[in-house]
């Protein structure tokens, strides 16, 4: 009887503080969401609505989503749709490839003792610290020797390299897949590949989803690599395409006015797939993101 009586005043003392903290969270939320709000509101405006002097944070009198979308999807013969498809292709092919390589290598490093393992793992860890953009220009020059620049491979191949993904898989496989289970499989006469596919892979699933998601996102968001590699705008991913439109619109003030509403809506449309992916898959990545930070 005394315990709850003791607890009640403490709880009521804590509550107001938590309300203050929640108000603070509310302010933070406004800050983090305001660019999304701006882009949702302004994606609905035509040039007159954008430059007409109405509020930048509220809708204009006419809502032009439909006509803006029509313009976005038909501008320059519908190249925006192509950019979206390219982005999806680069992200999925590159992301899947990077994940397959990382799963196999991480598992190999974690579960097999082989000659040169320690040294090659140390080199791998070191390579996590090599900034990826420092590789872009050298890779471009190397690829140009083989005629690979300005092809889809120029974007996909470098995406396959994900040393951090290997590191994450290694940490996860080391802790989540017990050696005894693998040995039990061997005693039962299962081959190493079968053990990998039937015993290890199911146990690695959370880490696989995380590495896949991280690779797909970094590939979808990539800008410097495709910007350097591609000169044919039909091969652009959506990031480079919108960047180019934006340069055009900024350089050309008079003709740029109608282009701006396409750019704004184009930016909005291009973030929708990833926002949906993240919200839909949160159950998976929320656990997985911690792999690298916990011992």
């Amino acid at each position: 009887m005394t315990a709850p009586a003791l607890r009640t005043p403490r709880r009521s003392r804590l509550k107001p503080r938590y309300i203050l903290l929640q108000i603070l969270l509310g302010f933070l939320l406004v800050y983090f969401l305001i660019p999304f709000w701006w882009i949702i509101v302004n994606g609905s405006k035509d040039a007159a609505g954008l430059f007409g002097g109405g509020s930048a944070l509220w809708f204009a009198d006419t809502i032009n989503y439909v006509s803006n979308l029509g313009e976005l999807f038909t501008y320059q013969d519908g190249i925006y749709v192509r950019w979206l498809a390219n982005s999806a292709m680069y992200a999925i092919v590159g992301g899947l490839g990077a994940t397959v390589l990382a799963v196999a290598a991480g598992y190999g490093f974690a579960k097999y003792k082989f000659a040169g393992r320690r040294l090659s793992f140390a080199i791998l860890l070191g390579s996590v610290m090599v900034p990826t953009t420092a590789l872009v220009i050298p890779t471009f020059i190397l690829f140009s020797q083989f005629g690979l620049t300005n092809t889809i491979w120029a974007v996909i191949l470098p995406t396959l390299l994900n040393p951090f993904g290997v590191y994450l898989m290694h940490v996860y496989a080391r802790d989540a897949v017990p050696d005894e289970l693998l040995d039990a499989g061997r005693v039962d006469g299962a081959g190493e590949l079968r053990i990998f596919f039937q015993v290890a892979i199911p146990m690695l699933r959370p880490a696989i989803v995380t590495v896949l998601l991280l690779s797909v996102v970094s590939s979808w968001n990539n800008y410097f690599l495709p910007l350097a590699m591609l000169s044919d705008n039909r091969l652009y991913p959506v990031t480079v395409g919108i960047g180019q439109w934006q340069g055009l619109a900024s350089a050309n003030n008079s003709g740029g006015a109608s282009l701006w509403s396409i750019i704004i809506l184009g930016s909005l449309v291009s973030v929708i797939p990833l926002v949906i992916a993240f919200l839909g898959l949160q159950r998976y990545w929320q656990g997985g993101l911690t792999i690298g930070s916990l011992k």
Partner: protein, 309 residues
């Protein structure tokens, strides 16, 4: 005796054979990645190193200059200004980002309402946005023609700051990068906080510790490895700064030069001026500097961090 010996030799050699087999299989798993690693990381780096030792002139063609390009870079004020900018930027950005993400993570660890869960997801959301689009969205918000700055500050009778101007672009970029990455770092810290054994809090409460003491004495020390990881990520990311300033160059006409950061300078040298040798030298020097910086840092913090141990 002899049969025993023969048996033991046979067993040992079959064990060795099994070990060799296992070793080959281990390499088999690692090999596909190793090939990609050699072809797309080692080869370009070596090639860049090789190219960086030459200079190409319009007259006289290509000649070997050893470290000539590097000597040029380290006396080239365009390059050094870029280096100085990213260093200043890192020194301000990284503590700010860590403070914001740690603060939010601590709040979210304490407040467990539905609203807090929603806030956690929304604060993370910018991570899913391409840097290009993030920079563009903030560029619009900063812009005098479409942005709400004048409107918002006008309510208090103030003139809105022009975060795209030459004087304030530093803060404009600071805000964009913080917005983009704080949520990701917050999630890492939040997960680390959630991983703390709750019996520690119980023990601390029995000892009479208050919330503040638990935060300073238990929570923050226990998430130190995650903080180190974040610091490393942020350092690597900031030193190779490219996307945001490259995108804002157009909106912030005149505030961001083509050589604003070392990476932009390398890009300009390679693609605008076709000076691949010098571009390679800058890329290689940048990569080496980042690597050494981060490696030293990891070495200093290795006792507390877990990444290299």
């Amino acid at each position: 005796m002899t049969t025993q010996l023969a048996q033991s030799i046979a067993r040992r050699s079959s064990l060795r054979r099994a070990n060799t087999r296992r070793s080959i299989i281990g390499w088999g798993f690692v090999a596909p990645f190793a090939i990609v690693f050699l072809a797309l990381l080692v080869a370009p780096l070596l090639f860049a190193l090789y190219l960086s030792l030459f200079q190409t002139q319009l007259i006289g063609g290509t000649k070997f200059v050893l470290f000539g390009n590097y000597l040029k870079a380290f006396t080239d004020s365009n390059f050094l200004d870029g280096v100085w900018f990213v260093l200043r930027f890192s020194v301000v950005l990284i503590p700010l980002q860590m403070a914001v993400s740690l603060g939010v993570a601590l709040v979210l660890d304490m407040v467990t309402t539905r609203f807090a869960r929603f806030a956690r997801l929304m604060i993370f959301l910018p991570y899913a946005i391409p840097a290009v689009i993030g920079a563009l969205m903030w560029g619009f918000l900063y812009s005098k023609s479409f942005g709400p700055m004048a409107e918002l500050f006008g309510m208090f009778g103030l003139a809105g700051p022009d975060l795209l101007s030459r004087d304030l672009i530093f803060f404009g970029l600071l805000n964009i990068v913080t917005w983009q990455w704080a949520g990701y770092y917050m999630i890492i810290l939040y997960a680390a906080l959630q991983g703390i054994d709750p019996t520690l809090y119980e023990a601390a409460r029995i000892d009479g510790a208050n919330q503040w003491q638990m935060m300073v004495r238990i929570k923050i020390p226990l998430v130190a490895p995650a903080l180190v990881l974040i610091l490393v990520f942020a350092l690597i990311g900031t030193l190779q700064f490219f996307n945001e300033p490259q995108i804002l160059r157009y909106l912030a006409a005149g505030s961001i030069s083509a050589d604003f950061t070392p990476n932009m300078y390398a890009y300009q040298q390679a693609f605008a001026l076709a000076n691949y040798n010098y571009g390679s030298a800058i890329s290689f020097a940048l990569g080496a500097v980042v690597f050494i910086f981060v490696y030293l840092f990891m070495f200093i913090t290795r006792k507390r961090g877990s990444f290299l141990s």
